[in-house]
């Protein structure tokens, strides 16, 4: 589904992505984990073409992207590439970047109407569907500034979902939220997983990664050091870099265990086949 092969990205003399290589299976939730400044956000932005990379290859949902040094694109080709890529890939930013001049509903229908040319009525139906999934039906006439941080994030998710992408990228979804909300985000990701979306989350929060991921990729120095299930990466890390990073988080492990326990309950609820909900209705 997603194949990243030897991707290199430089800012001037600074090599930020250095032969990054990894794969992500369709429908999986993958966390890219790593220390600050290792190039996680840059990786994510390259996957959405908000940044171009210099060398290497990416294949995302069937769209092939090559490094700018490997293949020069004309302006028209570039436009076509980003259009095709972004039709498949949505992103939820760290600070959400909601459109402050539009209501919650307006945020969610803007792109379907202007990009897909959906009739307004139809776009509203789709948007309401996803707003109810994130539990924000009651807030559709609110403006972003009138919402809490957690609510804003859910609007951003609904906005991305309304374009019905196959892949959703999340940059640091927990960093702007207080600890109680993190659990709710985890629940939301599980539910997104159930929608069949392929999800890539960038985080440096180890506990969060352990709880929600099907796959964890440990990133350092601009490339994927190690990839595997949470059990493999956290339980039996193969590389010294990974082990060092784990050790630095030792203190927080206890908190992580508690969270693990509560996560069990969430899965129980989902298993019982009650209706899918990404958040609590308010």
């Amino acid at each position: 589904m997603i194949e990243v092969t030897n991707v290199v990205k430089r800012y001037g003399p600074n090599t930020v992505l250095n032969n990054a290589t990894f794969q992500i299976e369709e429908g999986q939730l993958t966390t890219i984990l790593g220390p600050s400044g290792c190039g996680k956000s840059t990786m994510l932005r390259c996957m959405n073409r908000l940044e171009k990379f210099d060398r290497g290859r990416m294949n995302i949902a069937g769209v092939e992207v090559l490094g700018t040094e490997d293949k020069k694109l004309t302006a028209a080709e570039e436009k076509d590439l980003t259009r095709r890529l972004r039709a498949h890939v949505g992103i939820v930013f760290q600070n959400f970047n909601l459109f402050p001049h539009l209501t919650v509903l307006g945020n969610a229908i803007e792109a379907p109407v202007t990009v897909k040319g959906l009739p307004r009525k139809e776009a509203e139906e789709v948007a309401r569907h996803y707003l109810s999934k994130v539990g924000l039906s009651a807030k559709e006439e609110f403006y972003p500034a009138q919402l809490s941080g957690g609510q804003q994030q859910r609007v951003a998710i609904a906005r991305a979902l309304a374009m019905e992408p196959d892949v959703i990228l999340f940059d640091e979804p927990t960093s702007a939220l207080d600890p109680q909300l993190i659990q709710e985000v985890a629940r939301m990701f599980r539910a997104l997983d159930d929608l069949g979306k392929t999800i890539v989350v960038v985080s440096h929060d180890m506990n969060f990664a352990r709880r929600i991921s099907d796959q964890v990729i440990y990133f350092e120095g601009g490339h994927a050091v190690e990839a595997g299930t949470p059990e493999e990466v956290f339980g039996r890390p193969q590389k010294e870099e990974t082990r060092a990073f784990m050790r630095s988080f030792q203190d927080e492990d206890e908190a992580g265990n508690e969270a693990d326990a509560s996560e069990g309950k969430v899965e129980e609820v989902a298993d019982k086949g009650t209706r899918l909900s990404l958040g609590q209705e308010e």
């Binding site: 972004r86 949505g90 930013f93 792109a111 202007t114 403006y143």
Partner: protein
């Protein structure tokens, strides 16, 4: 007075641009064919030339009409500020200038003059209580007011130690003298006498005329046949006694008494004259209407042009961004006055002949667009880059993101600075007086000198400007309220 100095510089620059006019037909042929003699005049100089709502009166006016009649054509007077009147003559805006123009060697070098039609001379005016100024030599070390670009200015500038203060119109110089900000005023004897008699009773003239000056009708170079025709007409008028009749009407003893009665005995300079305002309010209104049309149309065109310039500058292609940047640099870096003069006076020599009103609109539009574009550009740049990224990540094109996401947020931010620009534009529109448009400020100039009543006229002009800016700020307030970004209440 900086304003006036920049004007003088602007006109000097402009004269460098002006090529010698080359008319296909001779001046006289043109006048005969059109059946009209177009005469430029700065109608702020009683008793020679004044205007009231497009009706001209004065000695020069009646003489010009008599000359035209002798030539078998009709006279059409065109109002123009004195500092722009000679460029306008050269560029063909009119056939002749009759505006109390003294014949000087300098002026004769760049234009033609008819035979002299009036003997004038400079006279000194001081306050009633001034004792120590009687002859020109007494002016050394004193502050002396003159009307800009007049022979009075040139004469005083040759005298060492005289501090020359220049005014747009002579009534303002006299007002300043009365207010004790300057020590004396020098100007054409009949005008000073008329003004003092009318309104400035605390002033007096002293001594005798200390120059001999002759007024002539100024013509563009190459108008030799027109000059011969005008001279012939002038001689016939003198022979027939017509000249004496007109002279007696404007400068005879009866004239001064009659004038005094029509203006209510010269309370003008000392107190606010309600009667005058009641009689003249329609004229202010038509000046206001012209100012409003100039400002509103310029703003209406300037906003979209400014927006396009801003959009050209914020996008990534240099092909569009660089010319837009150069345009803004040039338009902001040159005085609006020069731009107005360029469009009205210089473009015709390249075959582009735009009427005064539209020249004014175009100049104000092009100028304000540069400032407006910077307001829009700053507004666009103030929107978080995350907004563009979020829009693009959802699949919007750059243009869609700009139109749907960035600009709507920009507009609500730029309303206050745009209001500022609109008000500035409204006031800047007064600069078009130089190409003879009688908008609000020019109306004020004409009436203030016509009635020698600056203290009545200028406050009224100010109030009429307020009448324009007031609705503008109300509209801006409304937009700001409507577009107020929603925040936590």
């Amino acid at each position: 007075m900086k304003h006036i100095i920049s004007r003088a510089v602007a006109i000097f620059l402009l004269l460098l641009f002006l090529p010698a006019p080359s008319f296909a037909q001779s001046a006289l042929e043109r006048v005969r064919k059109n059946g009209e003699l177009r005469i430029g005049t700065d109608a702020t100089y009683p008793p020679f030339e004044t205007a009231e709502g497009g009706t001209f009166t004065g000695f020069d006016i009646e003489l010009g009409e008599a000359i035209a009649r002798e030539m078998g054509v009709r006279a059409t007077f065109i109002n123009a500020g004195f500092d722009g009147i000679f460029p306008a003559l050269q560029n063909g805006s009119f056939d002749a200038v009759m505006s109390s123009v003294t014949i000087t060697p300098e002026r004769s070098a760049s234009m033609l003059f008819s035979e002299p039609y009036y003997d004038s001379g400079q006279l000194i005016a001081v306050r009633q209580d001034t004792q120590n100024i009687n002859v020109p030599d007494d002016l050394t070390g004193k502050k002396v007011g003159v009307q800009i670009n007049t022979t009075a200015q040139y004469d005083l500038e040759k005298r060492a130690g005289v501090q020359v203060e220049k005014y747009n119109t002579i009534d303002l110089a006299l007002q300043d003298l009365q207010n004790k900000r300057i020590d004396a005023v020098v100007g054409d004897a009949p005008v000073l006498k008329w003004m003092i008699f009318q309104s400035f009773r605390q002033l007096k003239t002293v001594g005798r005329r200390f120059t001999d000056e002759k007024f002539g009708i100024a013509l563009a170079q190459g108008s030799d046949d027109l000059r011969r025709a005008i001279n012939a007409a002038l001689w016939r008028i003198e022979d027939s006694g017509e000249y004496n009749r007109i002279h007696e009407k404007w400068f005879g003893e009866a004239a001064e008494r009659a004038l005094a009665q029509t203006t209510g005995g010269g309370a003008g300079s000392r107190a606010f004259n309600f009667d005058l305002v009641r009689r003249l309010w329609r004229l202010f209104l038509s000046g206001l209407w012209l100012t409003a049309r100039l400002a509103i149309l310029s703003l209406a065109f300037g906003l979209p042009v400014g927006l396009l310039l801003a959009l050209a500058r914020v996008q990534s292609s240099k092909i569009l961004a660089a010319p837009a940047a150069v345009y803004v640099e040039v338009m902001r870096g040159t005085p609006l006055l020069v731009q107005i003069l360029f469009i009205y006076f210089v473009l015709p020599s390249f075959g582009v002949n735009i009427p005064a009103f539209w020249s004014g609109i175009i100049a104000l539009t092009l100028n304000s667009a540069a400032y407006i574009s910077e307001i829009f550009r700053a507004g666009i740049l103030s929107i978080d880059v995350g907004q563009m990224e979020a829009a693009r990540s959802l699949g919007m094109t750059y243009a869609q993101a700009m139109r749907r996401i960035i600009l709507p947020q920009t507009f609500r931010r730029v309303v206050p600075p745009l209001t500022n620009e609109g008000i500035a534009l409204l006031k800047d529109s007064s600069l078009v007086t130089i190409i003879g448009l009688t908008e609000l400020t020019r109306t004020g100039q004409e009436l203030a000198s016509r009635y020698a009543a600056p203290l009545t006229i200028w406050p009224v002009v100010a109030i009429f400007y307020l009448l324009l800016t007031f609705p503008l700020t109300r509209v801006a307030e409304y937009l700001e309220r409507r577009w107020r970004p929603v925040t936590r209440s």
